[in-house]
Symmetry: C2
Amino acid sequence: MQPIIIVHGGAGDIPESRINGKLEGVKEAVRVGYKILSSGGSALDSVEAAVVSMENDEYFNAGYGSVLNVRGEVEMEASIMCGKNLDVGAVTLIRDFKHPISIAHKVLTDSPHSLLGGEGAKIFALDKGFETVPPESLISENAKHALESSKNEFGRTEIGIKGDVGTVGAVAIDSNGHIAVATSTGGMSGKAVGRIGDTPQIGSGTYADDQVGGVSTTGHGESILKCCVAHSIIKYMGGGKDASTATTLAIQEMTKRLNNTAGAITLSKSGDVGVYFSSNRMAWAYVKNNKIYYGIDHDQTLVTDLNEK
Amino acid sequence: MQPIIIVHGGAGDIPESRINGKLEGVKEAVRVGYKILSSGGSALDSVEAAVVSMENDEYFNAGYGSVLNVRGEVEMEASIMCGKNLDVGAVTLIRDFKHPISIAHKVLTDSPHSLLGGEGAKIFALDKGFETVPPESLISENAKHALESSKNEFGRTEIGIKGDVGTVGAVAIDSNGHIAVATSTGGMSGKAVGRIGDTPQIGSGTYADDQVGGVSTTGHGESILKCCVAHSIIKYMGGGKDASTATTLAIQEMTKRLNNTAGAITLSKSGDVGVYFSSNRMAWAYVKNNKIYYGIDHDQTLVTDLNEK
């Protein structure tokens, strides 16, 4: 089957000044992920690589550039799921590793467990050969500014601190028809120490099932997890809705019930694409037929050649 | 409306020697929870109290008597959800508090977040006036024996270490028709440090929605979270299935797909009861019309008066 990859770079009140950086970042991420798919690689390796690309990029709230908790520290989380057998790897409360998604992938392949947190995740990562980095090396100037703003705004909106949104995610189908999904985040600016959001929770931030499709979500984590948004989209598709309708319905229901915003990217098992966000903006991109389709505003679809930079 | 409470005391290979203790424990838990409901208390307070009763009881794998991780330590987790507004409180990687479910309830009422883990959960709990206990005071003799056995058996079955299963949970509807669900566990004997299971993950261990019903699950955590079992049951009920059929279908699907066992207790918004387990045994009890219905083996329903001890 024709492989496909779609990514998002986070939903929220993205300021004008960050639009270009995010669009370049999501295009780069799908290029990296598609290269693996087009050379016969697995969906799992493809989504990991796409997310690693965004974890490296300070324009996204994941890995380097993650937002800071109330104590000014980075605490990251990530999850990855394999649609073939529903295998899951996830980590949370990660402070001093560069690529949480790669540790999550290793949990998927090497641990009898699905989700490891804090000290235990660190023990596992060190045992598997991952190297720590100084926590402060993950902190960007933008994240420091965002924390300062969040100290004024947190509690009033709980989300949408300008410039600091941007959970990242990727959904891919490889040439064997296997689906994988990866999601990674620094969470919410000014969050409490130890706050765990929707990203590592399967069915909220991430879901993949070869029999149905794959979903990665972004937005107000506490609302996403209360509605199990990723699993809701999967259930809509399982009941016969196409990817776009399923994605739109689940996000709209969450926003209507809980008055907070989110977004999601979806692939059905046959390769239909779903992109929807109730937030003001969400950066997204996908590759199909050697073209990159991408956008960040509502009702916006831009197109460029896969190989054009 | 007529209030109802149902509890479970964990699914798995429960040995004969533990049956009586578990049955007495689930009966006591529904008495405690029903007392609150019948005097006009809320479903949230009722499920918390029922779970606290089982957290105190060494016959259950939650609070005192929790199973031990590979390092011989207790690491507990719990979640509680309010069906009226989908509010969630959950904690994980708790080592030195007696009642994780009470901290989870406080997260629900007092935190802008839904799930707190490890150090952050401890900071929150201390700030809210919860007192620590020495970690070793939570360790029962039975848990030590279970760890010894798990060292031989872990990796082969990943579950069903005799005598140490027993996540606990409660689902209640109060006289105002509001639904709440609480689940609490010590996890899996011999688990890795930092392992987080299905219990604090909303849609896996716990789900409550006044518009549909409530579910608490127990069993092989990694399988439950891969299938979002609680949310799957809710979706079946939302689609028109009764509580019993919905519960049976979701557990059977999980067991068929992942070859591991689990159980769940369910109430529909109209008060229909669902109890199903693919494990060998699951202790459960519910109160309806001043009678306690309870059991632990397949196709077993015992009855006693509410006030008979």
